[in-house]
């Protein structure tokens, strides 16, 4: 099953931003204060550039495995794919913790048992057994759903937002910017998520630019969201980790009609479900493909990866903040380093392939 360029753009513009609305805004507010938008924008621009480069690689319509195997042989390519899968599994941990915390807060009045989150892994197991490229139709549905959800939340929240809280611009200084930039790294790995999709969509002229622009558009929506978020909560923003589920409740109509904003919040949470499962799905996909037995391997790998993810989540159940701090503060460099490093390898493979073709 092949993806279409439209579906890919839908993903970049309106599915990928869903993963940046839970803990990222409060994390940015904690690190960069009222200047939270600058590190965020910098990340989005950097990631959009990576997306552009990944999509340029799609011109060869070869999978990651095939590209690396052309350069260094099958065994090394398999090792590289396993490394990519390991990175994706590592990257999946923050979204999983986010999802668990969000579920506990958003869907229950009182703190439920952690088992309440367990059925997520049944869905994830089902999703991961399917190739990532078969998600295209899903993105066709999720993209408008996310747009409706985010627009609703933003409209409901804008009345109670004071954008003056973002002033004075540059108040937290360069240190705040760098803190924000490093602290938010673990939320930006969308270019790496695209790697397993290489070779599964036909490249159209201008797709790389279109994809990058779509990512920037989605990122723009996240920037707007964060601006309103800080405008609504201001100094309290640091302690509002599940912002998108809280910002709209101050809308005057909510008092009369009840929490109608839940329609929009649940829409975003629904999109988030799939985005959370995506890194694990990508990890399963890339390994199954490298071993050329996707049908046989994917279900077993899916079960194993999701069981491992669930076990890890249980192990770190009582220290979520410390876990997130470990991933996003102490080991933040893994994300940009791996994304950029993997791209360098792939471009080297591409160049080697070209040289070989010219030589022939």
């Amino acid at each position: 099953m092949k993806l279409s360029a439209r579906q890919l753009c839908f993903f970049l513009a309106a599915v990928a931003p869903a993963g940046k609305l839970v803990l990222l805004p409060s994390q940015l507010a904690a690190k960069a204060g009222n200047d939270l938008l600058f590190p965020l924008a910098a990340h989005i621009v950097f990631e959009a550039a990576l997306v552009f480069l990944v999509l340029l690689l799609a011109r060869r319509e070869r999978t990651v495995y095939a590209m690396i195997a052309d350069m260094v042989g099958g065994a090394a390519a398999k090792a590289a794919c396993i490394l990519l899968a390991a990175f994706l599994l590592w990257a999946s941990f923050v979204p999983l913790i986010e999802q668990k915390l969000l579920v506990q807060t958003l869907f229950y009045d009182t703190l439920p048992s952690y088992v309440a989150f367990a059925p997520f892994f049944l869905l994830a197991g089902y999703l991961c057994a399917k190739p990532l490229a078969s998600m295209g139709r899903l993105w066709d549905i999720l993209a408008p759903l996310f747009c409706v959800g985010l627009t609703g939340v933003l409209l409901f929240a804008c009345g109670s937002a004071d954008l003056g809280a973002l002033a004075p611009v540059g108040g937290s200084g360069a240190a705040g910017f760098w803190r924000g930039l490093f602290g938010a790294s673990s939320w930006f790995f969308d270019a790496a998520l695209l790697l397993p999709l290489l070779g599964h969509f036909p490249y159209q002229k201008g797709l790389a630019l279109r994809g990058a622009l779509c990512y920037l558009a989605g990122g723009g929506a996240v920037v707007l969201f964060c601006a309103l978020y800080f405008g609504v909560f201001q100094e309290l923003a640091v302690s509002q980790p599940f912002a998108f589920s809280q910002m709209s409740k101050y809308f005057s109509g909510v008092a009369a009609m009840g929490r109608v904003d839940y329609i929009f919040i649940f829409s975003i949470a629904f999109v988030m479900l799939f985005y959370t499962a995506m890194p694990v799905q990508a990890a399963v996909d890339v390994v199954a493909e490298a071993f050329a037995r996707p049908r046989a391997l994917a279900p077993a790998l899916s079960a194993a990866c999701n069981a491992a993810a669930f076990a890890a989540l249980l192990a770190f159940n009582f220290v979520p903040s410390e876990t997130i701090a470990l991933i996003s503060v102490r080991l933040f460099w893994i994300f940009p380093a791996f994304s950029a490093g993997m791209l360098l390898v792939l471009y080297a493979a591409w160049a080697a392939g070209r040289r070989r073709r010219h030589a022939q």
């Binding site: 869907f107 439920p112 899903l138 066709d140 009840g258 629904f270």
Partner: protein, 477 residues
């Protein structure tokens, strides 16, 4: 294979051996030239007036040579042919067409004077329209093909007849429009049905299951209709239709889920009204499936889902209930399903008593006895009504509603979300004859959105739906 012999006695005995049933009659007579002849016919399904007037009377006067071609020319029956295989002759007799055998003739003459008991064309009870045609299909495939032919008077309408069922020998008509129907669909249907080995085919739903790719899927993969106008409209969009003898339900393929949210009437009212009713149906459907689940989830896990005053009212009415919210809702939903099942099967004259027992005795007294709460009854009633706005999906949605309720009762709103995600994945991966059933939404086909949930004006619908894959794109200039 046995063939007709020139020796009439031998042929008669051989055919009788193939047709030993007592309702298969054999009339012996002599033609105008003094030769022995006989006529085999099935008693209940042959038009005996027509047989006497247009077959036997001319035979009594026939003096020509004992040749099938000459004898058929002498019979004024419009549908007449010859065959020499005894099995073919036996099959025709069983279908209601009498077979003439003549001494010295090595062929049997088949006269098309079948008369199958059939009800008159009437408005189908499942697809009532206040505006537009009221005709509905009947159980007779010939009548149904006539209804189709009446609306599509074009040589492009191709009807291929098949026989399915080793014992029922059910006639199946596969209808398509040459140059318009999606490529390969008709061939696949014919190929699948020809390869089927089944005893009997009592209804079109059997064929629907046989033609489905995913045999155990809850979601259907073929469209259904009881109205010839809808059937013909679907053929004109590029679909292929299947009419089954003995069933008033016609099948169409490829199927899109959005078809079931549309009704025939949408095309006979202004576009704005049609759009409104389609959206209303979708809303009612979602409301029906999710309302009981959200009600239970809000009570058990997230009271904030309800406005404060409503939450207080509900809290007051459920205060002394012995059952948990999920058990209460499950009980009332099951009661509704039981009442529904009973009202369909029960003789009509008992229906009034059932309404009284269901609505008054069970509903009213259960509330006053404190078994169930009033809000639960209201929610189930609303859900029950909402579900019937899209009757073609009732089998799927009623199951989904129950499963949603169980998920909500177990882990609350998150369970509803997870189950919705799973159902969505199943829906999106389903295909009907290579066409994704969730089209034109997923995959997104912008052109087809003009007649999906929104209904554009007739002038905007100049192109056939792209997702069906008709080779002829334009239907109106």
């Amino acid at each position: 294979m046995e063939y007709v012999s020139k020796d009439l006695t031998k042929t008669r005995e051989a055919l009788r051996a193939l047709l030993p049933a007592q309702d298969i009659l054999c009339t012996a007579l002599t033609d105008g030239a003094g030769r022995q002849a006989c006529c085999f016919f099935a008693d209940a399904v042959t038009d005996k007036d027509l047989l006497g007037e247009q077959v036997l009377r001319p035979l009594l006067a026939y003096r020509g040579a004992a040749e099938g071609a000459l004898l058929t020319a002498a019979l004024p029956v419009p549908e007449v042919r010859v065959a020499n295989a005894l099995s073919v002759l036996a099959e025709e007799v069983l279908a209601g067409n009498p077979v003439l055998l003549l001494e010295g003739m090595a062929e049997g003459v088949i006269a098309g004077t079948k008369k199958v008991p059939a009800r008159a064309v009437a408005e189908p009870p499942t697809d009532v329209a206040t505006k537009g045609p009221r005709e509905g299909f009947t159980e007779d495939v010939k009548t149904n093909t006539a209804l189709v032919r009446k609306r599509l008077k074009t040589g492009e309408l191709e009807i291929e007849f098949l026989t399915v069922g080793k014992r029922s020998r059910t006639a199946v008509a596969v209808c398509s429009l040459k140059g318009i129907s999606a490529a390969g669909v008709k061939e696949r249907i014919v190929q699948t049905l020809s390869a089927v080995s089944i005893d009997t085919v009592p209804d079109a739903s059997f064929l629907a299951r046989l033609l489905s790719d995913r045999k155990h899927a809850l979601l259907k993969q073929l469209g259904t209709t009881e109205k010839p106008d809808i059937f013909c409209a679907k053929l004109a969009e590029g679909r292929v239709g299947v009419l089954t003898d003995g069933s008033p339900v016609a099948l169409t393929a490829p199927y899109l889920v959005v078809e079931d949210l549309q009704s025939a009437e949408d095309y006979f009212v202004p576009a704005a009204r049609a759009t409104f009713t389609r959206l209303l149906r979708l809303f009612a459907l979602l409301f029906a499936v999710y309302l009981p689940a959200f009600y239970v989830a809000s009570q058990l896990y997230k009271l904030q889902l309800l406005p404060v005053k409503l939450a207080l009212t509900i809290a007051g009415s459920i205060r002394d209930l012995p059952l948990s919210p999920s058990m209460e809702m499950l009980l009332v939903l099951l009661l509704l399903e039981i009442l529904n099942e009973a009202s369909i099967r029960m003789p009509k004259y008992v229906g009034m008593a059932l309404s009284v027992v269901g609505a008054l005795v069970l509903g009213e007294t259960a509330v006053s006895a404190g078994f169930v709460s009033t809000p639960a009854i209201i929610i189930v009633a609303l859900s029950g009504i909402g579900l019937y706005t899209v009757p073609n999906l009732i089998e799927q949605t009623s199951v989904l509603r129950l499963v949603m309720l169980l998920a909500a009762g177990s882990i609350g709103t998150y369970g509803i979300l997870l189950l919705t995600a799973l159902s969505l994945m199943r829906l999106l991966s389903a295909e009907s004859f290579g066409v994704p059933v969730a089209a034109p939404f997923a995959p997104f086909v912008r052109q087809d959105l003009k007649d999906a949930l929104l209904k554009s004006d007739l002038y905007a619908l100049g192109m056939r739906p792209r997702c069906i894959g008709s080779p002829n794109k334009r239907r109106m200039k």
